[in-house]
């Protein structure tokens, strides 16, 4: 039995090494080389000259934007997402799965398409305005509000799902025990439910924070190019064939990701709140 599973796992292992490990290794190597479109293969050397890019103000601003928006998105997703997850958990609704499906539903449509339509209803003339007679979002397309709204709208489901999973795992007897020991419901929530759901909050936060930090499509579309994220810069570098620049910035992002995974394993050893 075990042996068969091992054989079945082989294609994936090959896939994993060719399409994940090799590219990552290549990216790290490129990030410390002089590779760009003007360099031919014969001239390839190890070079750290382009590291000054990290201190350029455009890079720093992009990093700052990414960090601020990622943090804000995570925070907002946590506040609203926790509330929604808790409400779902408390709901007497027989089939909670349907509620969760409704939350996941938007994620099944294409991200770019979804963001484009969001940008559309945030601009001055849109279909909602002709239906409702007024502009639901005002004319916020291109502003930081539009970007933040788009990010929260897109990534909050991750938070909701992981917090919900953590909440559902809390034994109801623990809540009864807290009441029994004299804690009124609000105190019960802060002393028992919330601490026990922290795992889900951490998992959810990382699942919101990382794609927001590294993403470029949503800010690019919703800010109409006004707000530059680090992801936008990386994309541009590759588009303009500055491979080593792009790789270097991508490696920096990679460190953020690895750090987050370390944090995650510390909080959630069994990975039980991961989807």
């Amino acid at each position: 039995m075990n042996k068969e599973f091992k054989v079945l796992a082989k294609p994936y292992m090959v896939w994993l090494s060719i399409l994940v490990f090799v590219p990552i290794l290549a990216m790290v190597l490129i990030s410390i080389s002089n590779l760009d479109s003007s360099v031919s293969v014969g001239e390839l050397v190890i070079s750290l000259n382009h590291f000054k890019l990290l201190l350029e103000s455009s890079t720093l601003i992009a990093f700052r934007n990414s960090l601020i928006f990622a943090t804000a998105t995570t925070f907002l997703s946590f506040v609203f997402g926790y509330f929604i997850a808790y409400e779902i958990k408390l709901s007497k609704f027989k089939n909670k799965f349907i509620l969760l499906t409704i939350i996941i539903l938007p994620m099944w449509s294409n991200l770019i398409l979804r963001t484009e339509s969001l940008a559309n209803i945030m601009s001055e003339n849109n279909i909602l305005k002709s239906i409702l007679g007024f502009n639901l979002f005002g004319n916020i397309s291109g502003t930081w509000m539009a970007v933040l709204f788009g990010l929260v709208f897109t990534y909050m489901p991750f938070m909701i799902l992981s917090v919900y999973t953590a909440l559902e795992k809390i034994d109801f007897a623990l809540e009864e025990a807290a009441l029994d020991l004299g804690l009124p419901p609000i105190k019960k929530f802060w002393k028992v439910v919330f601490p026990l759901s922290l795992k889900g909050v951490v998992t959810g936060s990382i699942m919101v924070f990382l794609p927001t930090l590294a993403g470029f499509a949503i800010p690019k579309i919703l800010s109409r190019g006004q707000i530059v994220f680090i992801g936008t810069i990386i994309e541009n570098k590759f588009v303009y064939t500055n491979y080593n620049h792009g790789a270097l910035l991508a490696v920096v992002i990679l460190f953020f990701i690895l750090g987050s995974i370390l944090l995650l394993t510390k909080f959630d050893k069994e990975g039980e709140t991961l989807l």
């Binding site: 034994d171 623990l174 009864e176 009441l179 029994d180 020991l181 002393k191 026990l196």
Partner: protein, 381 residues
């Protein structure tokens, strides 16, 4: 028992789930300092009664009265009652001592001032510094809470486990922590919901004695729920036998064992023989075709009765002296005694005795008058 103060009174309480009546018009008075057990198979409503007293569910009808006050609408956190849950329900994010201190740690200032008494707090605070400062008093209370918690851990013999995480404890130890966590609050009433069900036999027996001793020493009323009749027998002052939401019999372990009121109780409490008989006249009962002397029962002459004889109440005698003669059809060595099935006039009797017989051997039995118990015949069965 009559001169004892009633602590909990249940008056005509009923509760149903999905139109099924799980507690049906139950009346029960629980006194101070007693160990009362609700005994019955799963689904008989015993846990529901416990949860109504704890405040987790509201009775649909009737009143839950504690200390003379109606408690129906009071939430669980406002009741002087603590529960030891079946699966312990220890908080996994806290260590052992914080689990025990959890209740007191989250009480209000006024509650704690009342709980420990001003004098005790000030005495503790004097050792820490200026007693007029609020933070010194707060610290003193913290100290007292943890002193009490350690005391409670000592009571359940877990002194060395303060800093352990609860998931590093065995089932028995978790059980003890749960007990300490409830006892540290000095409840008037401790509710125990099948707390020993998950423990192995040896540990369970030990805990039974310890619980009984604790109850006696602390002077707290224990309300215990179990489906294990032996457990109920060992620990209780009084036992309530329940079936389908109705109390079948209430009494001391001895009286329930010896004088069951109906077939259900007789069968539920230990192994027994129930035989059809006729109450011939005063102090004479006929069953298995033989007249027996009996005592202490009043029925009409020639009334049908159910006769209850415990397996250990048969006396094994020589065939000539025997009132009943039968044949051993099955034998089992149980260590202390032998268990036999004896066929007498097409009726199988369960007999416990120290004497040893082989399968197929004839055996003579008599029964002392005071060992013969009788019940009214139930029409429905």
């Amino acid at each position: 028992m009559a001169n004892k103060k009633p602590l909990i009174e249940l008056k005509n309480i009923s509760k149903s789930y999905d139109d099924e009546l799980v507690v049906n018009d139950v009346n029960l008075t629980i006194y101070e300092n007693e160990f009362l057990t609700l005994l019955g198979p799963s689904g008989c409503g015993k846990t529901t009664i416990l949860r109504m007293i704890a405040g987790f569910i509201k009775p649909e009808q009737g009143e839950v009265i504690i200390n003379g006050k109606i408690f129906n609408d009071l939430p669980p956190y406002a009741r002087p009652i603590h529960t030891v849950f079946q699966k312990y329900a220890l908080f996994p994010h806290l260590n052992v001592i914080d689990n025990v201190a959890f209740g007191l740690n989250n009480r209000s200032w006024e509650y704690l001032e009342n709980f420990f008494g001003k004098e005790k707090i000030e005495k503790e605070a004097k050792e820490l510094g200026d007693i007029s400062k609020k933070n010194i008093l707060r610290k003193a209370i913290k100290n007292l809470i943890y002193k009490d918690s350690e005391q409670a851990l000592k009571l359940v013999k877990l002194e060395g486990f303060k800093k352990r995480k609860v998931d590093q404890l065995s089932g028995g130890q978790q059980q003890r922590v749960a007990l300490a966590r409830a006892l540290v609050n000095k409840p008037q009433i401790l509710l125990l919901d099948e707390p020993l069900a998950a423990l192995d036999l040896k540990l369970r027996q030990n805990m039974q004695y310890e619980l009984k001793e604790m109850q006696r020493n602390l002077g707290i009323t224990f309300l215990f729920v179990t489906h294990d009749q032996e457990e109920a027998m060992t620990m209780s002052d009084r036992i309530v036998v329940m079936k389908e939401g109705v109390i079948q019999q209430l009494g001391s372990p001895k009286s329930i064992y010896n004088e069951p009121l109906n077939r259900y109780v007789a069968n539920f409490i230990g192994e027994t023989n129930i035989l059809k008989g006729t109450y011939v006249k005063k102090d004479v009962v006929n069953f298995l075709g033989v007249d027996f002397k009996c005592m202490g029962y009043n029925f009409n002459d020639n009334e049908e009765v159910d006769v209850v004889i415990r397996p250990e109440d048969f006396d094994v005698v020589d065939i000539e002296k025997a009132k009943l003669v039968g044949e051993v059809v099955f034998s089992l060595f149980k260590g202390v005694h032998n268990e036999y099935e004896v066929l007498v006039k097409n009726e199988k009797l369960l007999v416990h005795t120290y004497e040893s017989y082989e399968v197929g051997q004839p055996i003579g039995l008599t029964i002392d008058p005071y060992e013969i118990h009788m019940m009214k015949v139930e029409k429905s069965e």
